[in-house]
């Protein structure tokens, strides 16, 4: 029978090292998508058997049991059972076990093996077990479990060929005879068996000098832990601003050179203006923020890979409990600093529905990377780059304050929501704190590449199209001689209408203009301003475009700039987030609520900021 390519699925407890093994087995050729109907990520890649035959490998969400307790675990169960829409039943199950946590992981392993399906066990992270003083006999485990057991160290690529070969053999065996489910074993029995199996497989166990226990002594220390966490977060935000500067400057120069080249080689025409003022100025002004986004994700991915993220959740739990949430909400919220979309998706791991809804509703207030371009351009233009202390710049400080404003706003809103619309019993917090691990360069690189690619794809599609549309709206109808092009255009007319509403918060026409297309994605505000000033400049100013920052400084006052920043702390300007919130809450009710309250907050915050700054004489 000629058949579809073999499908294998990686299954295991959370923190078994599945993702590292997945990266090691498939390399960078991965496809990330969603399972239909749910927002659990489906990660698939290609693995080559020793025979050269390709196998599709699917990485399933970590589970403690087939008795699913969260939407994530439900997907794992359904895929294994062949009930998941959009996923054929895997031919081979690759069970990933953490060698240094055998007794626990063997409980779930027995449940999966009990299904009688072709299964191979990857005894992962044997090196870490050895570091902990554990020596394990794979053969003993193999005879106890009745399936092949391959010791692996994903990060050092140990055992990968053997594992691939075992997957091929398991597949071949399964074609000879059908699956035989084993007799059902209850949880207490499985636990007892797991204990016996682990005992039998562990050859020696020397006095455990566990590094992670010593690290936790400091990092989870009641008094030292929280300051360390806050110091770390502060360093992250400083780094986003300072480390990225040389790269961003380089990219900015490249964008400038590209624009000049086009102006040199293409004769003046409206089409050339579209290319320089629309495409290059618009998309270019967003692409220059790639370094900052990569740096932010570098820290988030590193915190996740090292196991520190779970400690951060532990340290934050009490504070989150104060507003009716739990430490579990901290991880989605921290992810939302990169982007609210993966953040909202990560709320799937929160079991309590009201807890989860509250987290979804406040996630857009975390300063996402799309806001970074807006903040960065305004801060760079209006806040002097002076040092206020060793390693602490005034610009970084303002950026930090904007992040804090979002966090404080989110906490206040959570508190209000939890005592009104999402009222309910206080939620709990149960979470495994994984072992500390050194992150591998490869896993980090793959993660960063995926995030950078998503950002560039947005710049290439949504931002590209919105920028062109805006350029067209700004250029038509054409102005009469002597008339201002922007005021004559469709976009200008719209913005002039909108500024009636936005004038009380200090917005001028160009700012009103910028926030319309920024509904599609926040960073478009920057490209809109760039395009607007490029279009406005083409008549009366030198063609060598003045840097956007200088344009802003010449046209905006400080209270206006601060008001614009305050607006962006809260404004729900991202269609994708609203779409994800709709999908996650199964309807328009909550996204509509989210839009309304966030716009109201944005307006109030901008209003208060503008008039306070004006009253302080900052204008």
């Amino acid at each position: 029978m000629s058949r579809m390519p073999t499908v294998a699925a990686l299954v295991g407890n959370p923190n078994a090292g599945k993702s590292a093994l997945f990266n090691a087995l498939t390399g960078a050729r991965q496809k990330i998508a969603n399972y239909p109907g749910v927002t659990v990520e489906r990660k698939a890649g290609r693995l080559l058997l020793p025979t050269g035959e390709p196998v599709e490998l699917v990485d399933l969400p970590g589970s403690y049991s087939l008795d699913a307790a969260s939407p994530d675990e439900e997907v794992t169960r359904k895929v294994i059972m062949g009930e998941q829409e959009g996923q054929v039943r895997p031919d081979v199950i690759v069970l990933v076990l953490d060698s240094s946590n055998l007794e626990q992981h063997l409980v779930f392993a027995q449940e999966v093996i009990g299904l009688g399906r072709p299964t191979v066990v990857a005894l992962n992270m044997v090196d870490l077990a050895e570091r902990d003083g554990l020596v394990i006999d794979p053969a003993a485990l193999e005879s106890a479990l009745g399936v092949p057991v391959i010791p692996t160290v994903a990060v050092r690529r140990r055992g990968l060929t053997e594992l691939a070969a075992a997957i091929g053999e398991a597949r071949d065996r399964s074609q000879e005879h059908d699956a035989v489910p084993r007799p059902h074993v209850t949880l207490p029995e499985r636990r007892m068996l797991a204990h016996q199996m682990a005992d039998a497989a562990i050859i020696s166990e020397t006095a455990k000098h566990r590094i992670h226990a010593r690290m936790d002594k400091v990092l989870l220390h009641p008094w030292a832990g929280p300051p360390i966490l806050f110091a770390l977060l502060f360093v992250v935000f400083q780094a986003v601003f300072t480390w990225a500067t040389p790269f961003a400057d380089g990219l900015e120069a490249a964008v400038g050179v590209l624009g000049d080249l086009v102006r040199t080689y293409i004769p003046p025409s409206l089409a050339r203006d579209l290319l320089t003022d629309g495409v290059i100025a618009g998309v270019g002004s967003v692409v220059v923020f790639l370094p900052q986004i990569v740096i932010l994700f570098f820290f988030i991915l590193t915190m996740e890979a090292t196991g520190y993220m779970a400690r951060a959740a532990f340290l934050m739990d009490r504070m989150m409990a104060g507003v009716g949430l739990s430490g579990r909400s901290f991880i989605p919220l921290l992810s939302s600093f990169a982007c609210a979309i993966p953040g909202i998706m990560a709320t799937r791991s929160i079991a309590d529905p009201k807890d989860r809804l509250t987290t979804i509703l406040i996630a857009p207030m975390m300063t996402c990377s799309a806001r970074l371009p807006v903040y960065a351009v305004i801060i760079a233009a209006f806040i002097p780059n002076t040092k206020v202390g060793p390693g602490i710049g005034q610009q970084g400080l303002v950026l930090f304050a904007l992040y804090v404003a979002g966090i404080v706003g989110a906490m206040v809103v959570a508190l209000v929501l939890r005592s009104s619309v999402t009222k309910g019993a206080a939620s709990g917090f149960i979470m495994e704190l994984p072992k500390y691990q050194l992150p591998t360069i490869k896993d980090l690189a793959i993660g960063l590449w995926q995030r950078a690619w998503i950002f560039l794809r947005r710049a290439g599609t949504i931002i590209f199209m919105v920028t062109i549309a805006l350029w067209l709206l700004l250029n038509f109808p054409r102005a009469e001689p002597g008339q201002d092009q922007i005021n004559a255009s469709v976009a200008g007319t719209l913005a002039n209408g909108l500024s009636v509403v936005l004038e009380p918060i200090g917005f001028n026409r160009d700012m009103s203009l910028a926030i319309i297309p920024a509904m599609a994605a926040r960073e478009v505000a920057v490209s809109s301003l760039a395009t607007t000033y490029a279009v406005g400049a083409s008549d009366d100013e030198d063609q060598t475009a003045v840097a956007l920052g200088d344009q802003l400084k010449a046209r905006w006052t400080l209270p206006m700039a601060l008001s614009f920043l305050a607006w962006f702390v809260f404004a729900p300007q991202c269609l994708s987030t609203i779409a994800v919130a709709r999908r996650e809450t199964n309807g328009w009710k909550w996204p509509a609520f989210m839009l309304a309250y966030l716009f109201a907050l944005a307006y109030l915050a901008a209003f208060a900021t503008f008039w306070t700054a004006t009253a302080m004489g900052l204008g």
Partner: protein, 85 residues
């Protein structure tokens, strides 16, 4: 004595768990993590802020964070260490 009252670092065995005081999903999760009657546990950390919540519990080679409400449902018996090798 319940788990939340256990002094830090003292090994103990869970004697009984009053599952009725816990939300069903949370009870299921705790059981899946192995926090059940007979399990050997010790308390590793307590939070710093009011109520000294949450708690970090060591079970086997795992560390699990949970709230005091969960720990209060678990009755534990300290294990007297017979000076082992």
């Amino acid at each position: 004595m319940t788990l939340d009252q256990l002094p830090l670092g003292t090994p103990a065995r869970i004697a009984s768990v009053d599952w009725t005081t816990l939300v069903a999903e949370e009870a299921q999760r705790l059981r899946a993590l192995g926090l059940d009657e007979g399990a050997r546990v010790s308390l590793a950390y307590r939070g710093v802020f009011m109520g000294r919540d949450p708690l970090a519990v060591e079970i086997g080679r795992m560390t699990i964070a949970l709230r005091r409400v969960h720990a209060r449902a678990m009755t534990v018996e300290p294990i007297l260490e017979t000076s082992a090798a």
